[in-house]
């Protein structure tokens, strides 16, 4: 008994093999090809001839244990208890018996989890904590995601797009959703400098760290009322909130001037073109909970514009690169502002250094 209470540490995660269904163990590394059978359903065929059916359901990501148990029930019923989650937080049931596909889909529907996201569709939005859990958030995460997914939902359920479309959201410039390489990125932004609590800085933060945290050297140490504190040169601040990350006395959040920027044309895969960062499309849209109508309509317009104009396989950024950015701005009805022109380190390389212009 005494032994049993010994503190166990550093055991790491369970070995994945424990969770693999038999068919995967058998065909591990020897899958031959796959086919998408219909939206949300695909089959992988092994060299052995074995067939593994995958049904992909929308993940809510933020899920209660009660929901997870319902999902576990469905897995027990239709996939021998075997399931996995995807890198975009969807749920995949791993079936060996194709007869179980339709009943599983019905079961999922019942608990409110539509299937889709496979092939040329919109998958779940990779996102972050927002007002649910993070002190840094310039906008909510889950709420914006829910609103946008409701809006573009037909493209999750159907495979009616030229290629894959990946949306991601981060609620501040820390970019926990790593939105920087997404077809469409939704990014929470502050647009005002920190409201420094001059009296506290010295008490709760290391002043040299605070000064060093600023990418544009906008923070300088000063002495005010005999206190060592810091001052922000406001013209030099671009609202990244990195000072706030290292020092609570530099809060950034503001109900009126926080909002959302929209970025487009990034990608991660190496298919056809190299991975790319997303680029600024819309510098600022206001926070309008609960449905962020400006954001949902902006995203939806971008999706439809791309869907209507891109060639097969062409991701958002590939399409824009072909038609050129000025034309994209025109077609999307977006205005070009000084904010669109880069002014960070490598800005000079983004100036148009050729005559390749469309009319």
């Amino acid at each position: 008994m005494a032994e049993a209470t010994k503190r166990v540490t550093d055991i790491g995660p369970p070995h994945y093999e424990k969770f693999l269904p038999e068919i995967i163990k058998k065909n591990y590394g020897t899958w031959k090809y796959h086919e998408v059978l219909k939206p949300g359903v695909m089959v992988h065929v092994g060299e052995s001839g074995d067939k593994l059916f995958t049904v992909r359901a929308a993940g809510a990501r933020l899920m209660s244990i009660y929901r997870i148990r319902e999902i576990a029930d469905l897995a027990d019923k239709y996939s021998g208890g075997h399931l996995r989650f995807t890198s975009r937080h969807n749920i995949e049931f791993l079936l060996t018996d194709s007869a179980n596909i339709e009943p599983l889909i019905a079961g999922l529907k019942e608990i409110g989890h539509p299937i889709g996201g496979i092939g040329n569709s919109i998958s779940s939005i990779v996102h972050t904590q927002g007002w649910i859990h993070c002190h840094s958030a310039a906008t909510d995460a889950s709420g914006v995601v829910k609103a946008v997914m409701d809006e573009v939902f037909p493209h999750f359920e159907k495979m009616d797009l030229p290629g894959k479309l990946r949306i991601a959201l981060a609620c501040c410039l820390n970019m926990c959703g790593a939105v920087h390489c997404s077809d469409i990125a939704i990014l929470g932004v502050h647009t005002r400098p920190p409201k420094t609590d001059f009296a506290t800085v010295n008490k709760v933060c290391e002043i040299p760290n605070v000064v060093a945290s600023c990418p544009t050297a906008a923070i300088r140490p000063v002495t005010a009322d005999g206190n060592r504190t810091v001052e922000v040169i406001e013209e030099q601040c671009m609202f990244c909130a990195n000072c706030f990350t290292v020092c609570p006395a530099m809060p950034m959040n503001d109900p009126d001037t926080d909002g959302i920027s929209i970025w487009v044309g990034g990608k991660v895969s190496n298919a056809r073109t190299e991975p790319q960062f997303s680029k600024l499309a819309i510098p600022f849209l206001p926070n309008n909970p609960p449905r962020w109508p400006e954001v949902t309509s902006a995203v939806s317009n971008l999706v439809e514009l791309w869907a209507a104009n891109a060639r097969p396989f062409e991701r958002m950024g590939e399409w824009i690169d072909r038609i050129t950015w000025p034309r994209f701005f025109k077609m999307a009805g977006l205005e070009f502002h000084p904010e669109h022109i880069d002014d960070f380190k490598h800005a000079g390389l983004t100036y148009k250094r050729s005559m390749h212009l469309v009319r």
Binding site: P13, A58, S64
Partner: protein, 399 residues
């Protein structure tokens, strides 16, 4: 248990086809006061358009330096249930494979010790157990290890590695992503649990250049599968795709970045010497084409989000590495540890390894870790003539 707070704004988000996180919180709120307060505070955030969390504090479990994110409401009087509302990051299994049993184990312990809310998963890949009090951290940890799980990374440590589904279900996996992910995770338990680096260090493994875990954009070390022999090609199957209406000339050949394919209407010819292993043609015709048989991985280094010095993508460090056996794996680890040593010693506080390389320069970095430069490491050689000719190397250069 009292009734749920009025949440007119949030209620709107229960409508619509997409699964609703509000419904989830409400479900949990039926059992948990903390979730009721979370609902209340969130509704207030929606009304006021501002978050209500204080800057995180340092909390954790005994002997670990990471894996728990401390969080406190800035309205503790109003919402006492979330006065403390810390998050635990639980190291997911490789490839996010579960059994219903494993999920239930986690649900059960979280029902007992926390809010009952989770993220499946966090964007680094962990299971996120969302919200508990400081007191419950140790008991949660105990319950976790009892069912065979452990805490993942946070802070300046190795973050929980993650990998694509790989050979478990994908015909294109060029190495065993699940195994490499598991092995690194197990071998670096100490580095995961006890922050000792200048900043965080993330690993992500993708089985092929499609990069389904976005490793090239989101991990300090990206391990991405590739091959070096010829694409496996089944001509009959190619023809079948054509017959079924795939426009091979325009949509496959025309999109090949190597410009190394030819299609004469009958036969597809690939100049494999110029193939860039981009995956496009294979993606377009999975039954007809497949990566070659001499498979391995490319090791890339340095990606990260913008803070502080600007976002980076990983860049090539080792163009091709076999990772088939123990020995290969040891090579990989030796490299990793060499990198950690140099970065650990010379990296500045809060400087990711990618930023470190940007600062000291690739050539210097390579010299420090003892790796010879190869042309694959650059998109193109330098354009500017400001060359630091090595003054000792005359003879060599003159050759």
């Amino acid at each position: 248990m009292a009734e749920l707070p009025a949440t007119p704004l949030l209620d709107d988000l229960e409508k619509g086809p997409w699964p609703s996180f509000v419904t989830e919180i409400k479900n949990a709120a039926l059992h948990k006061d903390s979730c009721k307060d979370l609902l209340g505070q969130l509704e207030r955030s929606y009304r006021e358009k501002i978050g209500h969390w204080k800057h995180g504090g340092i909390v954790g479990v005994l002997g670990y330096g990471g894996g728990v994110i401390g969080r406190y409401s800035d309205l503790p009087k109003e919402f006492p249930g979330i006065a403390h509302f810390h998050t635990l990051r639980i190291n997911q299994p490789s490839g996010w494979f579960y059994t219903s049993k494993a999920l239930r184990d986690i649900c059960d312990l979280w029902e007992e010790h926390g809010s009952g809310l989770t993220n499946m998963h966090g964007s680094t890949g962990d299971i996120i157990l969302l919200g508990t009090t400081t007191d419950e951290l140790e008991p949660t940890f105990k319950a976790l290890t009892d069912v065979g799980f452990d805490i993942g990374g946070s802070g300046s440590d190795v973050r929980t590695p993650s990998c694509c589904v790989g050979p478990a279900r994908c015909e294109w996996a060029c190495y065993d992503t699940l195994k490499v992910c598991y092995q690194l995770t197990m071998d670096y338990q100490d580095e995961i649990h006890r922050p000792m680096f200048p900043y965080k260090f993330k690993f992500k493994m993708s089985g092929c250049p499609n990069d389904c875990v976005a490793s090239i954009a989101r991990s300090d070390m990206s391990i991405i599968g590739t091959w070096r022999d010829d694409i496996q090609q089944d001509d009959a199957a190619v023809k079948e795709y054509a017959d079924k209406g795939l426009n091979i000339q325009r949509d496959v050949v025309g999109n090949c970045p190597g410009q190394c394919m030819e299609w004469d209407g009958e036969k597809l010819t690939i100049d494999n010497d110029l193939c860039r292993r981009c995956m496009h043609c294979i993606n377009a015709m999975p039954k007809a084409l497949a990566p070659g048989k001499d498979r391995g991985a490319t090791i890339l280094l340095g990606s990260k989000a913008p803070i502080v010095e600007g976002a980076l993508l990983s860049s090539v460090l080792i163009p091709f590495l076999k990772i088939d056996n123990e020995e290969d794996f040891k090579d990989l680890q030796a490299l990793v540890e060499e990198i950690w040593e140099v970065w650990g010693e010379e990296g500045k506080n809060r400087e990711r390894v990618g930023e470190f390389i940007q600062r000291v320069g690739m050539a210097n970095f390579l010299e420090a870790i003892g790796l010879e430069p190869v042309a694959e490491m650059v998109a193109h050689p330098r354009e500017n003539p400001y060359v630091f000719y090595n003054q000792g190397d005359d003879e060599e250069e003159d050759k």
